[in-house]
C-alpha cells in the first residue's frame, strides 16, 4: 500500500471548510454586532470596514447575520445528511442484500418519494411536528434525502452480495446481521463517503431552496437560504446582500465538494 498523501484538493477543501466552520462556531457566542439588532439610521449601508458585508433594510449588520446564519445552515445540513445516510444505508443494505419482494416494494416507495413534491412533504412534517420548529426542516429534508442514499448503497450491497468472501462467510455460518455490518459495510464506505459530501452540498442547497419558497427557518434568526431569499427582492437596492450571502453558500458547498474530490482521489491512489 502506498503512503497516504494529503492531496491538494483535500487540503484546500479542509482549509475552506475549516475556516467557515470555525467562523460559524465562534458566531454562536460572538458576532461583531447583534445579528438581530436594528438601526434605523443605518439602513442599506454598502460594505465598509465597520460593516464588512454592509447592512440590510433594518440596518442590521449582514456579516453578523451571515456568520450566525451559516451556523444554522451547517447544523441543518449535517443533521439532514445524518438522517438520510443512516436510514438510506439501512434501506439500501436490506434491499440490496436480500433482494426479492422487499427490494421491489422499497424501490417503488423510493420512486414515489422522488416524485413526491418536497414542499408538500415539508408542510406535512410541519403540521405533524408543529410550526415554528427548526427541526421541521431537518426532518423534511432528511426524508427527501433517504432515496438517493438508499439507491447508492443498494447498488453497493447488491454488488457485494455474491462476492467470494461474503459467500464464504455465509457458508461458515455467519449471521446476516454480522455479514452486513462487519463484512459489507466497511466496503461500502468508498461509495458512501462521496455520497455524503454530495449529500451535504445538496442539503445546503435544498435548505436554501426551501427558504426561498417560504418554508424554512424562523425569522429573525436566519439560515443562509433564508437570508438569500430576503436579499433577492432587494437586489438592485442592495446587491451586496445577495452577493455576499450567495458567495458564502457557494464557498461552503465548494469547500465540502473539494473534500469529496480529494477523498476520491486518495481512494484511487490507494487502490
Amino acid at each position: 500500500m502506498k503512503k497516504r498523501r494529503i492531496n491538494g484538493y483535500l487540503l484546500c477543501g479542509l482549509i475552506i471548510t475549516g475556516v467557515l466552520l470555525l467562523a460559524a462556531l465562534v458566531g454562536t457566542f460572538y458576532t461583531p454586532f447583534d445579528p438581530n439588532a436594528m438601526n434605523g439610521a443605518e439602513k442599506f449601508q454598502a460594505p465598509s470596514f465597520v460593516h464588512l458585508f454592509g447592512t440590510d433594510n433594518f440596518g442590521r449588520d449582514i456579516f453578523s447575520r451571515v456568520v450566525k446564519g451559516s451556523g444554522t445552515t451547517l447544523a441543518i445540513a449535517l443533521a439532514t445528511v445524518a438522517i438520510g445516510a443512516v436510514v438510506g444505508t439501512l434501506v439500501g443494505a436490506v434491499t440490496g442484500y436480500f433482494g426479492g419482494v422487499a427490494d421491489d416494494a422499497l424501490m417503488r416507495l423510493n420512486d414515489a418519494l422522488t416524485a413526491f413534491p418536497s414542499i408538500l412533504l415539508a408542510l406535512l412534517v410541519i403540521s405533524i411536528v408543529g410550526p415554528g420548529n427548526k427541526y421541521n426542516v431537518v426532518l423534511a429534508l432528511g426524508i427527501v434525502f433517504i432515496p438517493s442514499f438508499a439507491r447508492v448503497t443498494r447498488t453497493a450491497f447488491a454488488g457485494l452480495r455474491d462476492v467470494n468472501y461474503i459467500t464464504s462467510a455465509r457458508l461458515m455460518g455467519a449471521k446476516n446481521g454480522r455479514i452486513l455490518l462487519v463484512h459489507m459495510l466497511p466496503n461500502t464506505v468508498r461509495v458512501l463517503l462521496p455520497a455524503i459530501t454530495i449529500g451535504f452540498n445538496n442539503a445546503v442547497l435544498a435548505e436554501a431552496s426551501m427558504s426561498f419558497l417560504g418554508i424554512g427557518v424562523t425569522p429573525p434568526d436566519a439560515s443562509l437560504g433564508y437570508l438569500l431569499s430576503e436579499a433577492q427582492d432587494k437586489l438592485s437596492r442592495a446587491p451586496w446582500y445577495a452577493l455576499c450571502t450567495g458567495a458564502v453558500i457557494a464557498l461552503l458547498v465548494f469547500g465540502v465538494g473539494l473534500i469529496g474530490e480529494g477523498l476520491q482521489k486518495m481512494d484511487r491512489e490507494v487502490a
Binding site: D104, A115, R268
Partner: protein, 316 residues
C-alpha cells in the same frame, strides 16, 4: 415481453402509491380547500356549506377511491380554486415545463459528455486542478442564485428577455425559447458539472481495469482503446446517470420557474398546494411519478441495447 409487463406494472404501482401518499398528506396537513377558498370571509356556516358542496365531508378512503376511479376513467376532475377542468389547466403548463426540461437536458448532454472526454486528456496537468476546481464551483452555486444573477444581467441589463413576462409558447415560440434557454442554463449548470465529474471518474475507473492494461500492453493505441472500449463500457453508467438527471430536472424546475417567472408545472404545483387544490396537485404528482419512472425505464432500455448482458435481467 415479460420485462415490459413488469415495467408497466411498476409504473402503475408507483403512480398509485404516490397518489395515495399525496392524498394522505392532504388529509393530514392543516387547512382544507374550503378554508383556502373562503379566506377571511369564512364563517363556520359558510365553511360547512362549502365542504358539503365539495364533498369534503365524505370519509377519506371513499374520497380517494372516487378520485382514483375518476382518474382511471380519464376524468381528472375540476380544479377547486379555478373551477376549471384540471386537464385544461395543466396541459399548457406541462408543455412549458417539458420544453424547459428538454432544453436543459439537451444542454447537459451536449455539453457534459464531450467535456468529460476532453477533460480526461488533461489528467495530471495543471489544467486538471483548475478544471476540477471550476467543476466544483459550478456544482456549488445554487440555481436560484445564478437565476437571480442571470435574469438581472441578461434580462434587465442586456434585455435579451423580459423576466416575469413569459411569451406565449405557441404564438411566440422563438421568444419563449430564449426565455426558457436562460432558465435551462441555470437549471443545467450544476447537473452538467456533476455529469462531467461522474463520467470522468467512471472513465478513470475503467482505464485502470485489467482489460485496458492488457489492450495497451499489447500495443494498442491509448486513444483507440479509450474510444473503442472504455467509452462504450462507461456509457451504461452515463445513461443511468442521465436518466436520473432527467427525473431530477423536473423537481429542480420548481425553483427556477419561480425565479424566471415561467408559468410552468412547478409553479402551478406550489400554488395549488398552497390553495389546497388537491385535484390539481394529485394530477401533477402522478405526472411527476410517471416522468420519474419513465426516465428510469428509458435509461434501462438504452442500456440493454448498449450492453446485452443486462438483458438477462441480472440488474433490474
Amino acid at each position: 415481453m415479460k420485462y415490459a409487463l413488469k415495467r408497466n406494472l411498476m409504473l402503475v404501482l408507483t403512480m398509485v402509491i404516490v397518489s395515495f401518499l399525496t392524498f394522505l398528506a392532504f388529509e393530514l396537513i392543516s387547512g382544507d380547500p374550503a378554508e383556502a377558498m373562503l379566506g377571511t370571509e369564512a364563517t363556520p356556516e359558510r365553511l360547512a356549506a362549502l365542504r358539503e358542496e365539495l364533498g369534503l365531508n365524505r370519509p377519506f378512503l371513499v374520497r380517494y377511491a372516487s378520485w382514483l376511479a375518476g382518474f382511471a376513467s380519464g376524468d381528472l376532475g375540476v380544479s377547486l380554486h379555478y373551477r376549471q377542468p384540471v386537464w385544461d389547466l395543466i396541459a399548457p403548463k406541462l408543455e412549458i415545463t417539458l420544453c424547459l426540461c428538454l432544453v436543459s437536458f439537451a444542454l447537459i448532454t451536449v455539453v457534459s459528455i464531450p467535456l468529460a472526454i476532453w477533460s480526461y486528456r488533461w489528467t495530471g496537468t495543471v489544467f486538471e486542478a483548475v478544471r476540477t476546481a471550476f467543476n466544483q464551483l459550478c456544482m456549488a452555486v445554487p440555481p436560484f442564485f445564478t437565476g437571480i444573477l442571470m435574469s438581472y444581467l441578461f434580462g434587465i441589463l442586456l434585455r435579451l428577455f423580459v423576466p416575469g413576462d413569459f411569451p406565449d409558447l405557441r404564438d411566440q415560440f422563438g421568444e419563449a425559447l430564449v426565455h426558457l434557454f436562460f432558465a435551462a442554463v441555470c437549471l443545467g449548470i450544476p447537473r452538467t458539472a456533476m455529469t462531467v465529474r461522474m463520467m470522468r471518474s467512471t472513465v478513470i475507473g475503467e482505464m485502470q481495469k485489467a482489460y485496458v492494461r492488457t489492450a495497451i500492453s499489447r500495443g494498442n493505441d491509448r486513444r483507440a482503446v479509450l474510444t473503442r472500449h472504455v467509452l462504450k463500457n462507461s456509457l451504461t453508467a452515463a445513461v443511468t446517470f442521465l436518466g436520473q438527471t432527467m427525473a431530477e430536472l423536473i423537481g429542480g424546475s420548481v425553483v427556477v420557474e419561480q425565479v424566471f417567472g415561467i408559468p410552468g408545472l412547478g409553479r402551478l404545483l406550489v400554488y395549488s398546494i398552497s390553495t389546497r387544490d388537491y385535484p390539481v396537485v394529485q394530477t401533477v404528482v402522478v405526472i411527476l411519478a410517471f416522468w420519474v419512472v419513465l426516465a428510469g425505464t428509458l435509461a434501462d432500455l438504452i442500456n440493454q441495447r448498449v450492453d446485452p448482458r443486462l438483458r438477462l435481467g441480472g440488474a433490474a
